[in-house]
Symmetry: C2
Subunit: 401 residues, 2 copies
Amino acid sequence: MNIAVAQSGGPTVAINASLAGVFKEALDSNQIDTVYGSLNGIEGIINQNLVNLNELIKTDDDLELVKLTPSTVLGSCRYKLPTYDKDALVYGKIIEYFNKYNIGAFFYIGGNDSMDTVNKLSKYTAENSINIKVIGIPKTIDNDLCLTDHTPGFGSAAKYLSTTVQEIVRDSAVYDLKSVTIVEIMGRHAGWLTASSAVLHANDETAPHLIYLPEGEFSQEKFLSDVKAQLEIHNSVIVAVSEGITLDDENYRSGKVDTFGHAYLSGIGKLLENLVTEKIGCKVRSIELNVMQRCSSHLASKTDIDESVLIGKTAVKAALSGKTGIMMTFKRISNNPYKIEIGEADTSLVANQEKTFPKEWICDNSTNITNDALDYFLPLINGEVKIKTQNGMPIHFKINK
Amino acid sequence: MNIAVAQSGGPTVAINASLAGVFKEALDSNQIDTVYGSLNGIEGIINQNLVNLNELIKTDDDLELVKLTPSTVLGSCRYKLPTYDKDALVYGKIIEYFNKYNIGAFFYIGGNDSMDTVNKLSKYTAENSINIKVIGIPKTIDNDLCLTDHTPGFGSAAKYLSTTVQEIVRDSAVYDLKSVTIVEIMGRHAGWLTASSAVLHANDETAPHLIYLPEGEFSQEKFLSDVKAQLEIHNSVIVAVSEGITLDDENYRSGKVDTFGHAYLSGIGKLLENLVTEKIGCKVRSIELNVMQRCSSHLASKTDIDESVLIGKTAVKAALSGKTGIMMTFKRISNNPYKIEIGEADTSLVANQEKTFPKEWICDNSTNITNDALDYFLPLINGEVKIKTQNGMPIHFKINK
């Protein structure tokens, strides 16, 4: 039989590492002939856009490049599979195309929206006795998927964040004057990524001095009072703020939503910058780390990349052993030494859910995180990857779509 | 005798490497006893804030950390030394403090404003037969200093830029739809750094598809027409734009100026983003690379760091041989193999000048740069540095100020 693999949702640094894991395990299995890649997520199945990955990933060097190329080698989509009663036709189309290519298992690497697709498709195949296994492989820099200790892609985003914020700390401290630097961090409604910036404390940095998560208390008044207190202690105050914090004044939100009904979040850094200018009057700057948080593969965490390959490999093993409708998960065995195992979860329990940052890990009047949280984060950013370069720039793996 | 060293102006990744060069050469010289660091530039002399660097940089490991720590270990300032006829007192103060510490030479690492200070101070010591040599060591990510082939710090900024823009290229290409990504790049009124993003073309990237420099032609109408033409060819169009381009409509500028009368430049990316939304209507995003362009030492160019150390060392040799009032320079001997020599220039010819990007290196109707320009840029981003880490994060050298 053959298998198909697709990538969906927002890019991360590790999503191609999971693709590499799926590919490698298939290559090593005598039950699988060809690995097909679906271009632009499930849309590549619906629109009949499969590519033969065995012809594109020819050498071990190619596979190494795939592992460390950011974003999605196969492209992505934001397509939401309709329920069967809304559009039976699309299910028929998908299965027909799978059958044409003798696809026995489909692997979907994505976030909670993609797990919704895995859930619906696997229910459909099971109910109709179609022997195609459907397995979800998680990914998101937001770390907000349920039933897994953490998500592939998160560790690398956290490593980018810690390295970059530490460099911003140095940059912000050059002049002998009071200043505030506000770093706006991704993560949607979950504070995981922003909270992870606290790993700097483990390297004897006092910054970030204030960490604001959507799960904590926040108001403009509290913010100003927190900043003033920190300016009494430090010349250069560093604030890490989640894009998703809830403000008392919601007027600044754009109101736009994406195809899943998620609000586009942005602008909180600028808003707080203006607030400091207006109410405190010291030097202030806001920095939006933007997509670099999810695509800086040159700063990938080796732990994250290795685990992302492993979870891809294990997904193939699960499908071959007859599993379907599950999302592969990480189970943490211990922090020190750091040890994980690969587990599995029913996608119906994962889809369309968000796992937020634990309130009991928030401390110091909602401006910091506890040592337990630090113990959780630190192993995930461990280790550096070796990037191949040409002309002083990383080499990326590309397929002509 | 002893020497003093200070850092001034905006931070770069290589300014501490030049400090390390000065320190190492002094350590190896039997003519120099102690290296004093002046905190926050020349203000550390005026306000009597010298630190003994021999007590702070104790081991070779310390010195290696100094080399790869971003920003300024000694702090910086934006102080402009007044002319002698405006404030004779401050000159007396400086010399008195130098004499107290038996300072025979002062090294000022900075940009064109700092060279103005070197120029004034060296003229004063020469005219008054004061035996203190004053030497300038260049630095700026803007690469806009006259009489030097390039500036320490520029190569690392260019390397950060190329690596990051390439990752943004991958990130921008994930969805199967037309999109425009606008990357706003530093450099003040000079297009050097923005132009350097074209090095991606040497690695078979078509991006950036449009490169706009302050030295080229630009109007909102031309921009829209250029973007539309590129959208016909590419799904995902990448635009690199200098913060300092001159717009037909100047109303968007904030109007604020810094202590040197330089205008704060920002917001062009956002402005062009809004223009695309309004006039073209496709998906569009603007990314401001912000201070990461000047502080991402984890992506330092080995060539830049090595040269920055070398120019610092050579500055000490120049002072010991009796030179004063000069800025050390790079002279390019050849591109391939890449070879430079250290030269020197009269600071009166460098101070308060800007070297802009050559118009003859701009092509394709002011949207690209020539191969000659590529040959100039490519050697500067060559080579990777080895960063020491702890807990998965780089280790920085810090002194308690």
